[in-house]
């Protein structure tokens, strides 16, 4: 080791270059992978619903007859019958809930047995909500027609909540029959059922918490339907929906969106981040490797005579190879030590809040092993060339 380090002292700048390059590369690669994993984790999250086969269609009316409550009430029922009559449609509900909207409606609630007020998403739904979401009411019962008050201005009295919310509020105790009120203690609703899975990304980390009620999500301002179709039927149903509903009433305009499209939109920025980061990582590793090849080649061609002399003095080819590999290993290791510091410094610079993203140690470990390997692979071609230098070179003057 001693002679190697002494030899390196003559080329400080060159090795400093590799050290800095390796350090920055490690910092970028680990942080980029960390961000990719973060985005992927969000995308792999399951909503719990049959996303691929869900369609949302909403309308906004402009015809004056929509001001009549009774007109809207019967129209929504007619609409749902019309939608169900389209071949391929399995179930339909009138609800403002749209999976992967990344928002929706929510409220602040209170219940006995839980000390604080809590926030949860709230969606009113009529029709076949759980059939549409392809979900069983795991405990308790589903909504029935009589759960919906006849008068439109009377609040609903029952609710079906997600398992995650029940766990948060009452632990493993039976949630059925418990009463949830609004933040001021008004509009009590009795829990009549629990669904096992629910996830719709939302602010304040309430993505898993939901209250469904058998209420009206529609009024004179419009309505929205969520429907599930048989696998493969999305396209044909989409093409028939609007004409069918226009035939029911044409005093309105429609907005149609498949849940798959909605999910795509929701994750579009994340996909760009993943693609960009992946591209940067690949190109960066390639470039750093090339840089090591270049600088080592330079070192070899500059030291051709010394190599010849060493060979003439009895060093084997393996000795020369070992020399360059050891040299590179030392430089790479120094770069990696600096790189670990740089990794955490960059991580610190990238997160706006300290609590946000953390750098898992195993990522740094994988990064170190990878860069060691790249260092060796990149050193091999010039080092092999060095090993072929003939001892006779030493005897020549240039």
């Amino acid at each position: 080791m001693g002679p190697i380090i002494r030899a390196m002292k003559h080329n400080r700048m060159r090795f400093a270059l590799i050290i800095v390059e390796i350090a920055i590369t490690l910092a970028i690669v680990t942080n980029a992978v960390n961000m990719i994993l973060d985005e992927r984790q969000k995308m792999l999250r399951q909503s719990g619903f049959d996303d691929e086969n869900l369609i949302s269609i909403g309308y906004q009316p402009f015809a004056p007859e929509f001001r009549e409550e009774s007109f809207v009430e019967s129209l929504v029922q007619t609409d749902m019958r019309a939608i169900r009559s389209i071949p391929g449609v399995k179930a339909v509900a009138a609800t403002g809930f749209l999976p992967w909207q990344g928002g929706g409606s929510s409220g602040t609630w209170k219940t006995e047995g839980y000390n604080d007020k809590f926030q949860a998403q709230l969606y009113a739904a009529r029709g076949q909500l759980f059939e549409t979401l392809d979900m069983e009411v795991a405990q308790g019962r589903a909504f029935v027609e009589t759960d919906t008050p006849v008068e439109t201005n009377v609040p609903t009295r029952v609710t079906i909540i997600s398992r995650a919310l029940a766990k948060k509020l009452w632990g493993d105790a039976n949630p059925i029959g418990r009463v949830i009120t609004n933040g001021e203690g008004g509009t009590p609703r009795t829990v009549i059922g629990v669904i096992d899975e629910f996830y719709n990304p939302y602010a304040w980390n309430i993505g898993e918490f939901v209250l469904f009620t058998p209420g009206r999500s529609y009024d004179g301002g419009g309505a929205r339907f969520l429907l599930r179709v048989e696998p493969g039927a999305v396209k044909s149903v989409v093409s028939q929906l609007e004409p069918k509903l226009l035939a029911v009433n044409n005093g309105r305009v429609f907005r149609l969106l498949t849940v798959a499209e909605q999910k795509d939109n929701f994750f579009s920025a994340g996909k760009v981040v993943i693609t960009a980061m992946t591209g940067i990582i690949i190109v960066l590793i390639f470039i750093t490797g090339l840089g090591i090849v270049g600088i080592t080649s330079l070192a070899v061609s500059e030291r051709t005579r010394q190599i010849g002399t060493r060979r003439a003095l009895g060093a084997t080819r393996a000795d020369i190879l070992k020399h360059f590999l050891a040299e590179n290993w030392l430089v790479t290791s120094a770069g990696l030590i600096l790189g670990v510091v740089a990794t955490y410094a960059l991580n610190f610079a990238l997160v706006s809040k300290l609590t946000d993203v953390k750098m898992p140690w195993y990522l740094v470990g994988i990064g170190i092993v990878m860069l060691w390997a790249i260092g060796i692979i990149a050193t091999l071609p010039p080092a092999l060339r060095a090993a072929t230098v003939s001892p006779a070179i030493a005897t020549r003057s240039v």
């Binding site: 305009v253 579009s268 190109v283 960066l284």
Partner: protein
């Protein structure tokens, strides 16, 4: 001298086309990546109204629940909008040069049935000051007058797209548009407008939101009993029934802007706002600690923007990427220049000064930098187009002149970073030594 150096540099670069394209390629790659991701960030963070935005102030008042802050987790938070009644009171001040309350609503447009079916369109309610405050450019006509604000008169300003859709792009000033059950006279048509950030309404994060296509006098709000199509947040029930109770409630749904050109006016206006809240406290409202914010537009955008943090991260990472590309060139250039030591030593022996040799090589590096920069810039235009396509409402993502300059500057810096050390090494060669070896 420069032209001579450039000539020599080109000659030297031509001698080894493979190495030269490697050098240019590395810079191009670094510039392409860094330009692209700095540009994405720049588009969303740059000042939307340079020179003007510092005089435009958004007003916020903490009228929230005495028990609970606006954001329950942050006791210092306050609502991003104000109530209708507070807006009415603030409007009585004559300190601002201009001022407007504003919000987004939604109307059905009923075009000539021969042209199109009725459709819903976002409509922004504003006072006429809104247009000059936010520097709206008119293609035809202009804003309505103050009299139309007060009455209110049935007048509207329409956007470029609506003018295309309803009037095939003709000068439609004086023609009428039917919204719901009334006809409105067009007084102005705007130039096409697509800001990256909806700077006059940040209540929903401002990113990816299109400006409204129709603008209507604010005072139609009580006349038509309009509802907001934006955020509306309340914490307290209404006193009484009907629309009047809603207008009189603690529900916040209006953005309020004042133009305050001088620091004196800004200070005086802050006092005015605080005194207003103190007066209201005497009436039993505003029971939380006195907290008002009069925020300049650029600061408000920073505070409320919904730009994903990854955009900032990508821009930082991409600059580091450029640094690595540039460091790589140091090694390559070192090899290239040192191979030329014999030639340089002859020049030195013939009287070229160290500085001259140094500059000659720096110029060569800068040529590589500029060539790489131009190629990188071209590539990044393509990359930005791909990104714009992949994101909903992403068409605002593109290069502006400022970014082109930044990018060229970066390529010069990259060339310099890569070239200084090798140039210095080659120029510090002693002439005699080299001649001896020869």
């Amino acid at each position: 001298m420069l032209s001579y150096n450039v000539k020599i540099a080109i000659k030297s670069l031509r001698r080894n086309p493979i190495l030269t394209s490697l050098l240019i390629g590395a810079i191009a790659l670094g510039i392409c990546v860094s330009t692209t991701f700095i540009a994405v960030r720049h588009i969303f963070e740059k000042d939307p109204l340079p020179g003007k935005s510092q005089t435009l102030f958004n007003v916020r008042l903490d009228n929230w629940d005495p028990q609970r802050a606006w954001n329950a987790e942050d006791p210092k938070s306050l609502p991003t909008q104000i109530t209708y009644r507070d807006m009415r009171e603030l409007m009585k001040s004559n300190l601002p040069t201009r001022q407007t309350g504003t919000y987004r609503s939604r109307f059905f447009v009923h075009p000539d049935p021969k042209v199109a079916r009725p459709y819903a369109e976002n409509v922004r309610l504003v006072f006429t000051d809104f247009f000059p405050m936010f520097d709206f450019k008119f293609r035809y006509g202009g804003p309505w007058d103050k009299a139309a604000d007060a009455k209110p008169e049935q007048v509207i300003v329409i956007g470029h797209q609506t003018n295309q859709k309803l009037f095939a792009g003709a000068n439609s000033v004086g023609r009428t548009v039917r919204l719901e059950d009334r006809n409105y006279k067009v007084v102005g048509v705007l130039e096409p407008l697509r800001p990256a950030v909806l700077f006059y309404d940040m209540t929903q994060g401002g990113i990816g939101q299109l400006p409204e296509e129709i603008f209507m006098p604010f005072n139609f709000t009580p006349v038509l009993e309009l509802q907001t199509f934006g955020n509306s947040d309340g914490w307290k029930g209404f006193d009484g029934d009907g629309y009047a109770a809603f207008l009189n409630s603690e529900t916040v749904w209006i953005q309020f802007w004042a133009e305050l050109p001088t620091p004196q006016k800004q200070a005086a206006y802050r006092d005015f706002v605080n005194n207003y809240v103190r007066d209201q406290k005497k009436l039993g409202r505003f029971q939380r600690p006195l907290h008002t914010e009069v925020t300049a537009m650029p600061d408000l955008i920073k505070e409320l923007s919904s730009l994903p943090p990854a955009v900032r991260s990508l821009s930082i990472v991409s600059v580091l990427f450029l640094v690595v590309c540039s460091l790589n060139l140091v090694g390559l250039l070192l090899g290239k220049f040192l191979a030329r030591v014999p030639e340089v030593s002859v020049r030195r022996a013939l009287g070229a000064s160290r500085l001259q040799v140094f500059w000659q090589h720096v110029v060569e590096c800068e040529l590589v930098g500029i060539a790489g920069g131009v190629i990188g810039l071209t590539l990044s235009i393509g990359l930005l187009k791909l990104i714009a396509k992949a994101i909903p409402n992403g068409e605002v993502i593109r290069l502006d002149t400022e970014m082109v300059l930044v990018s060229l500057f970066l390529s010069l810096v990259a060339g310099l970073v890569a070239g200084v050390y090798p140039s210095w090494r080659v120029c510090s060669v002693a002439p005699a030594m080299q001649l001896k070896v020869q």
